[in-house]
């Protein structure tokens, strides 16, 4: 049995859901004949035709707007942002139309907006962003970011089947770098459930997306130094799996949050608040955040390398935390 890459797992999820449910269709720029900028939708046009694989003008507001309308009519659209950065062009449709519809009018908008986020590939300020916090701050949306091929497939299937709008961030660094053997059959990964990727006793690293791998690398180094780190992969950023987070920190008594997105107002700040509310009595050290600094994503390799969190930065923080 061969391994399936993260990018192919996403395509399999789309393919399976379109086979299973004729309400599901995909819409976006260059997703049909070209198969998508990252080839996520490659082959879908041949199988499902141009009515269900819709190439659009360069028009993110139209893409998400049309998806909102179709979802209100009972369809299950999956809208691709060629890069997650461009979700800013559809911000109104996502945060004001899709997110608030059920609350205001009782009309659910079961759509998925998916696209590649994240840096490490020298994409510069507009092809590397991690915009998840904007959306996690918007009631009515769910926000997901898988770190493995298994989760990419299982979570996307859950997102498509969800009754509410789901923003699905795919880390582009992982597209062809992580792969695994996937089980056959129709399985899903539930939205709202974190996964403990590595058990540990000394401190918890709470993270998601590509940083899960960074955390695991760091944990290996830390182990050789006698620090036993637990790595929690959040998988869903809203709603947060507070139970898993709290259980981990109640066990280790020390926590650090690791994310590639910039620092202020990030998911890490939210988790720190949750831990302050729910784990105050358990904490034996300060809550630390390892994040990108509050700058745009720089382009030149030494600048971007400096900007991104890495295993070394995680280890440095973990040593300080373990010393408390």
């Amino acid at each position: 049995m061969s391994e399936t890459a993260y990018v192919d797992a996403i395509r399999e999820a789309l393919f399976d859901e379109m086979e299973r449910d004729e309400r599901v269709f995909v819409i976006g720029e260059d997703i049909g004949v070209y198969g998508g900028a990252f080839k996520v939708t490659d082959g879908l046009l041949e199988r499902f035709g141009e009515h269900r694989v819709i190439d659009t003008p360069v028009s993110e507001t139209a893409i998400v707007g049309a998806a909102v309308g179709a979802a209100m009519m009972g369809m299950r659209p999956v809208a691709e942002m060629q890069f997650a950065d461009f979700a800013s062009c559809a911000f109104d449709m996502i945060t004001n139309f899709a997110a608030k519809s059920r609350y205001r009018t009782g009309v659910g908008v079961p759509l998925v907006v998916r696209g590649p986020s994240g840096g490490g590939v020298h994409g510069g300020p507009f092809h590397s962003q991690n915009p998840e916090a904007y959306f996690a701050h918007t009631p009515g949306l769910k926000v997901v970011q898988p770190s493995t091929a298994y989760d990419a497939k299982g979570l996307l299937k859950s997102a498509i089947r969800d009754e509410d709008p789901v923003i699905f961030f795919e880390h582009k660094f992982l597209y062809r770098r992580v792969k695994e053997i996937l089980p056959p059959g129709d399985w899903t990964v539930p939205i709202g459930k974190a996964a403990v990727r590595r058990e540990g006793r000394d401190l918890s690293i709470l993270t998601y997306g590509a940083m899960v791998w960074t955390a695991l690398d760091a944990a290996t180094t830390l182990e050789s130094e006698g620090i036993d780190a637990e790595v929690v992969d959040l998988r869903t950023l809203f709603p947060l799996d507070e139970e898993t987070i709290v259980a981990s920190v109640a066990k280790t008594n020390k926590a650090m949050v690791l994310h590639e997105a910039t620092r202020t107002g990030g998911i890490g700040a939210e988790i720190a608040a949750v831990l302050s509310e729910r784990c105050f009595e358990y904490l034996d050290g300060p809550l630390l955040r390892i994040t990108a600094p509050d700058t745009p994503v720089p382009f030149s390799p030494p600048l971007e390398e400096f900007f991104l969190p890495n295993a070394e930065k995680v280890c440095r923080a973990a040593r300080a935390l373990a010393g408390y």
Partner: protein, 335 residues
């Protein structure tokens, strides 16, 4: 295209009058402090709302804006719905979650706008797209003001609909003003119908105060859409006879312009048509008017007696299934 029947012409009159009478009642309630928030008038624009929506058939879907009170009445929402929305009551279609004409469901043929202008155009294109994928032959119709045509969403939505040849009718309601901004500061275009050329679709301008002309033009656009010929941009030239909302005294509007358009009042003009055609005398219309006033008064009274939503219902309906609590855990744990 067949002319409306005598009965339809009377129904159109009733809808126009209901639009105006209901709005006058809302003004009354607003002045008594019973309307929550602002009140956005459609005075002088009733023929555009009623004439366009009346051209739709059962199963079609409409996306009205805040000045399209007449349109939602055509689509079958009641004065009680509208009154309850404005008085923020539990019985309102949005359950008190949103204001004025922000309500509707696809099943009832109305999609609620959001306040960001132009946003309905791509969404209504999506309604048409969704219907086509389901092999439903429905027409989607929505409105845009002269101000709203300056937004990116308007452009993106209409361009996409044109490329996809979707059954969408966009009624550009040119009432001369976007809040205090006049048409000439909104666009250098001669008229809004000219914008259609940019999308490769037909554009037409109609006298928005002539309800039968509006109806006929909308019928043509709806027929094109239903026949698979794609979107139409229909410009209705009309005039906003009041300020942006009731708080706005519209001091920036030239009084001679107001006087000119007051002489073109759509209800008075249509009453004359009905009299000339021998469909209804002044007495007949007065009797209809009295019946409508009575109904609106009774509905307003009933809504005034009806409860506000329960405070806790503010937490309901964000998601299909509740996903988060509103209170911090520490408060939950200790209370």
């Amino acid at each position: 295209m067949s002319e409306p029947t005598r009965q339809q012409k009377l129904e159109i009159y009733r809808l126009l009058r209901l639009n105006r009478t209901l709005e006058e009642k809302l003004v009354n309630l607003y002045r008594q402090g019973k309307v929550v928030g602002g009140l956005y008038r459609s005075l002088g624009q009733e023929a555009t709302s009623v004439g366009t929506a009346y051209a739709l058939s059962r199963g079609d879907v409409l996306g009205p804006l805040i000045r399209n009170l007449g349109s939602v009445l055509v689509m079958g929402f009641s004065p009680r719905d509208v009154l309850a929305q404005h008085m923020a009551r539990a019985s309102s279609p949005s359950g008190g979650k949103d204001c004025n004409l922000h309500f509707g469901t696809p099943e009832r043929g109305v999609i609620s706008s959001i306040s960001m202008l132009g946003a309905l155009v791509p969404v209504m294109a999506g309604i048409a797209l969704g219907a086509r994928l389901q092999k439903k032959n429905l027409v989607a119709m929505t409105y845009i003001g002269d101000g709203g045509t300056s937004t990116g969403a308007f452009h993106e939505g209409l361009n996409f609909a044109a490329v996809q040849k979707l059954p969408l009718v966009v009624v550009a309601e040119n009432n001369g003003w976007a809040y205090s901004t006049p048409f000439r500061k909104q666009t250098a275009a001669r008229c809004l119908a000219d914008r259609a050329t940019a999308y490769g679709i037909p554009g037409e301008t109609v006298d928005g105060n002539d309800v039968l002309a509006v109806y006929e033009a909308a019928k043509r656009a709806v027929a094109r859409a239903r026949a698979g010929e794609g979107p139409t941009l229909l410009e209705a030239k009309t005039y906003r006879m009041k300020g942006h909302a009731e708080h706005d005294g519209q001091a920036y509007v030239p009084s001679e312009e107001l006087a000119e358009w007051a002489a073109r009042d759509p209800l008075e003009a249509y009453s004359r048509v009905l009299a000339t055609e021998g469909i209804a005398s002044a007495d007949d219309l007065a009797a209809i008017d009295a019946g409508i006033s009575e109904r609106v008064e009774a509905d307003a009274w009933a809504v005034e007696q009806s409860p506000f939503p329960s405070p806790e219902s503010a937490l309901e309906g964000v998601y299909a299934r509740k996903v988060a609590d509103a209170e911090p855990a520490a408060v939950r744990r200790r209370s």
